[in-house]
Structures are given as structure tokens and as C-alpha cells.
Symmetry: C2
Subunit: 110 residues, 2 copies
DNA sequence: TTCCCATATTGCAATATTAGAATATGATGA
DNA sequence: TCATCATATTCTAATATTGCAATATGGGAA
């Protein structure tokens, strides 16, 4: 079917899955890494940096934006993209939370 | 095309993207949450827990296994699935690392 | 052995994703 | 105004993903 079933899962699970899915692509992950490291964040630089055509990158950017992982500020002709800390913190918290649960119990498989 | 371009990205980026992609599905994320919380981890319980048919869950389990997020121990007729801490730590470290970089610089977008 | 039980695999059909060419938009500068 | 630059959108073909029915596998019990 290709369609992802979301009924029966909690709202948070579905939301987090969408965010993680957005991160689960080399180009989008690279964009996040680049934005985290780079002092500046103009769209054009990302296009220069990645081995993909401009329209493809534009689409990936909009996908990251859709799930709230990045935000863009229009700056004249350019658009300055940055990591949306609020969105990223959602991921961070989720991972920390699951890690905490894991640590508090021992695995039943060896 | 539907094919994800991986040339031009680092090995680690591609690997991490695969892992995050595996997490980026409500059923698979739920499985991870369930395995983290549950004291036991028999496959059948997961099938009972999730609103999906057994073959579908089996596929999701094998996908999680493929990227190293879980492992399974055969236990008589049953299979006992657990989170593979090594694999999970990869995610944890990645997130912590990016968070660290983020904290050490201020966003250029407001 | 034969019959269950638990899990995996196969084989679809439906839908989603991906990449890039072509094109559109929208701002700035001449 | 018109040309140019930066980015977004649209379109299309190729491929991937998803879900489930049907079936296979493989272990234990009778």
C-alpha cells in the first residue's frame, strides 16, 4: 500500500516518527549537520555543499521545515536557514527519555 | 526516481540516516518504545500490542534488526527481541554530538 | 510421524519518495 | 522598466515503502 498507518499509535509517536523520518535521509541529515556547524546558513551555500541539484535541496529544506526542524529567515534575495532549536529539542528529549528508560532496566537478551 | 542518492555523503552520515529512517515510522518507533519499557520482549506480545498484522510487524522487526537497533534471541518457539544497546548508543551519541555543537554557537536566525 | 504454534517470507496492489529539468516567483540593481 | 540572481514549484519517470493475504518454516507436543 505504501501508506503508513497512523491510527492506533499515539499522537506523540506519530509526530516523532515524522521528525525522525525527515532526519532519515542523507541529504537532510547533512543539511542539519551543516546548519549546526556553519556560522552562516544561506541556502545557496547548502546547494554548493551538497551533491544534489538546487530543486532537490529546496524540497529537502521544505521537508525539514515542515516538521519543524529548521526555520528560514528571508534576508534580501537570500534565505537564511537555521536549526529550529525547539524542534531539535524534541528529538533530543525523546532520545534522552528512551535512553533513561533503557538504563533503568537490564536487557533480557544477552 | 525514488532512489536515495548516497554518493557524496560520508559513510557515517549515510549510516546514521538509515538508522534514523528505520526509527521514522510509527510502528517501528512503537516497537522501540515497547522494548525499552517492557520487562519481557517476546515477538507475539508486540503483535498483540500494535494495530498491525503479524507479517507487517515481522517486516518492521527485521528492518530494525537490519540497521542494528534491535536483536533477537531464539527462545524455544518464541523469539525474544531486545534493543541493541550498541545500535541505540549510536543514535544517542549522534544526537548528543549535534546538540553540543548547537549549544556552542548562537543561531544566526532569530 | 503429525498436528499446532510462533514467526518469517513471498507476492501483490496501492501509495509515497526521490531526483532533476523546466519553469515560476520575487527581490535587487541598473 | 528590464535583467539578473536566489529560491521555490511543478512535472514526470523511476524506484521504494507499506500492509496484508497466503504461504512457508521450524520447533515442541502428542
Amino acid at each position: 500500500m505504501g501508506i503508513t498507518k497512523t491510527e492506533g499509535f499515539s499522537e506523540e509517536t506519530n509526530k516523532m516518527a515524522e521528525v525522525l523520518k525527515a532526519l532519515g535521509h542523507p541529504a537532510r541529515l547533512s543539511i542539519m549537520e551543516y546548519l549546526a556547524k556553519s556560522p552562516s546558513c544561506v541556502c545557496g551555500e547548502i546547494v554548493d555543499e551538497l551533491p544534489l541539484a538546487q530543486p532537490t535541496i529546496s524540497r529537502h529544506l521544505s521537508e525539514l521545515k515542515k516538521v519543524g526542524l529548521i526555520k528560514g529567515n528571508i534576508d534580501g534575495k537570500n534565505i537564511c536557514y537555521c536549526i529550529n532549536e525547539e524542534g531539535w529539542n524534541g528529538v533530543k528529549d525523546f532520545v534522552a527519555n528512551l535512553s533513561g528508560i533503557l538504563e533503568s532496566k537490564n536487557s533480557c537478551c544477552k
